[in-house]
Symmetry: C2
Subunit: 368 residues, 2 copies
């Protein structure tokens, strides 16, 4: 049950989008990526598209969604005929005499483009990269509140699931408990397939839950998220049950420090690669260069992975309103791994951590 997006918020998004069309001298745009449809129109159903010109805005859908569309996307004209989506778009492009129609190069497939062209003879398709995605990078205060709501849900569930961790519980059982609690707790869903990794399994950077049973003494890596009103939270904590092997205690300390340094580096104007470097330099110096194979973070929002990418290759600088994960890790195959991840908002003067789960060697944040 999505909360309605405030009307002024929707107006502002559309205005920015039309300014982009104008800047690029495009007569109209067809938005087919469903996340972008939702962002621009507020409509959260499925199998739909938007057709936007400087003066028109139409929501192309089918009979199943007419009521929802009218309710969630006020101001948009709902078009249900002809039956096929691309045919609708072609008919409209001709009707409004759009000469150059922007399409989403990251979403429109070769087959869709061919189908569209069939119905839109004489219309030039202009594949555009990152039209709406560009707008989505900067989160409004309302969007930040949705992310915070997602985090509050997932933080509560984290406590509940951690209290259930007893020797013998299997990774997939803990994952099922988390998902159940997230949904019962008000999330739309989990943000992604949550990772629960016991012991040496924690060294697999993208492991799915297995049937491994938790031991008396084990390292526990949990990477989990709640999706709320379309917005994706994404956190990781790694902690210990029972005795703590010296080597793993050490890498936990290094990762925690690296993560803190990277968070502290976050401010408007700072290059993406610079944030990555803040974490990476410390890990490299500690001798674990090859054990940190992924980037330091990524944007979150209506998608779990979106721009910007905080990696050594990342180009660009942080701006107020961006929300990024900061998640360095060290993985020791056969022994275990540590990753610590928070979600951070870039503010006018620096940054603010949106997540509130303590970091420590024990799940409740205790460092003993």
């Amino acid at each position: 049950m999505p909360n309605a997006i405030p009307a002024d918020e929707l107006r502002a998004r559309l205005k920015r989008f039309r300014a982009m069309l104008d800047r690029e001298r495009l007569g109209g745009a067809l938005i087919t990526d469903f996340i972008n449809v939702r962002y621009l129109s507020g409509f959260a159903g499925g199998d739909s598209a938007l057709f936007v010109t400087p003066r028109q805005r139409l929501l192309l859908t089918d009979f199943r969604y007419v009521e929802e569309a009218a309710h969630q996307a006020p101001g948009w004209k709902v078009v249900t005929k002809p039956a096929a989506l691309l045919e609708k778009a072609g008919v409209l492009a001709k009707k409004f005499r759009v000469r150059k129609l922007a399409v989403e190069s990251g979403h429109l497939t070769l087959g869709m483009a061919k189908g569209l062209q069939k119905f839109a003879r004489g219309v030039a398709l202009k594949p555009m990269n990152q039209m709406v995605e560009e707008l989505r990078i900067i989160k409004s205060p309302w969007e930040v509140r949705q992310l915070e709501a997602a985090l509050r849900i997932q933080e509560r569930c984290f406590g509940e699931v951690c209290r259930m961790l007893r020797p013998g519980i299997r990774e997939y059982e803990a994952a099922a408990e988390m998902r159940y609690r997230l949904v019962k707790g008000g999330a739309d869903d989990q943000s992604f397939e949550c990772m629960f990794q016991w012991g040496s399994n924690a060294s697999r950077p993208h492991g799915r839950p297995t049937d491994r049973k938790l031991q008396e003494s084990n390292i526990v890596l949990i990477d989990w998220g709640a999706k709320f009103n379309g917005y994706h939270g994404d956190l990781t904590r790694t902690f210990f049950l029972g005795t703590i092997p010296a080597r793993l205690r050490k890498i936990h300390e290094i990762v925690a420090q690296a993560q803190q340094q990277a968070v502290e580096r976050i401010a408007p104007g700072v290059e993406f690669a610079n944030v990555d470097r803040a974490a990476r330099d410390l890990i490299d110096k500690a001798g674990y260069k090859k054990q940190f194979g992924h980037s330091t973070g990524h944007g979150i929002g209506l998608k779990i992975h979106e721009a910007p990418t905080l990696s050594w290759r990342g180009k660009g600088v942080l701006k107020p309103g961006m929300v990024v994960t900061v998640e360095p890790g060290i993985y020791l195959p056969g022994a275990g791994g540590v990753r610590i991840e928070d979600d951070v908002l870039v503010t006018e003067r620096g940054c603010r951590k949106l997540s509130r789960v303590p970091i420590g060697l024990r799940w409740n944040g205790a460092n003993a």
Copy 2:
């Protein structure tokens, strides 16, 4: 934890795929749709692609998946460099001197095609529709067993959740219970966002669960599915709690009859549209033509919706090994709706219903 696909099954799939390449005179194919990657290679990870020529078979992935790929896709050469997927593909197309490279027109976006072409100068891309999908339409006995396993899980969970239905339970709470039980019961996940619709909500053909509370007397529509080892079950039952309004009892009877007639029509050689007609004619005659707005069924397998489509527009005939849903419905806005759905295998001589949940006015199948 996917079960391994039997080696002979994988060999047969690849052989059929290469025969298709040969028939179409294609020097190689790039498979980027992840479902198709899994079908052909057995690899169930992510962010990967296949590069297939008459003599070579390579799995393009990154460092995160090397171990899994080697394990799940024996016989495939794992390629991790260069870093970008499309660059890997371009390098290979040139290395193996592929002149005409088949790509998936239903998956490759305009942006990906542009990127690939940059790395594969001189290679002609040949967008192909339904290459692997064509193979996937006919299910092997092993695949049918995976679908049956999914159905056994979801049938058990249906009983468990129905026993929990008390006045006051909200749609989304029941949905959360179902999902939890599916995952705990051994499913990879739910097949799709399960629909739980109480009372007049049952008239919304694609409704998401709301916070509506169940009443003492209510119609209950549940459309739910378990995904097991990648394969998607998909069933719907509609039943009553408390007193049964005469009009809804009547449409339940009509839909049940229509569904049975459509199932009985299923056999090799029968046109898709003919199965749709079997259900539709009966509903039309009963006076509910406009209240049955969707098609009668669709294929299920590694995707929840796949070929064939059993609709009035569907072209083609049923063949042994196809598995389809049969799901007519009647929706009365403001009053409620009834849909009944089973999953049916086309056999050599006729068909076999794979699902085993009784159909009746009460959830346990009782008709009183």
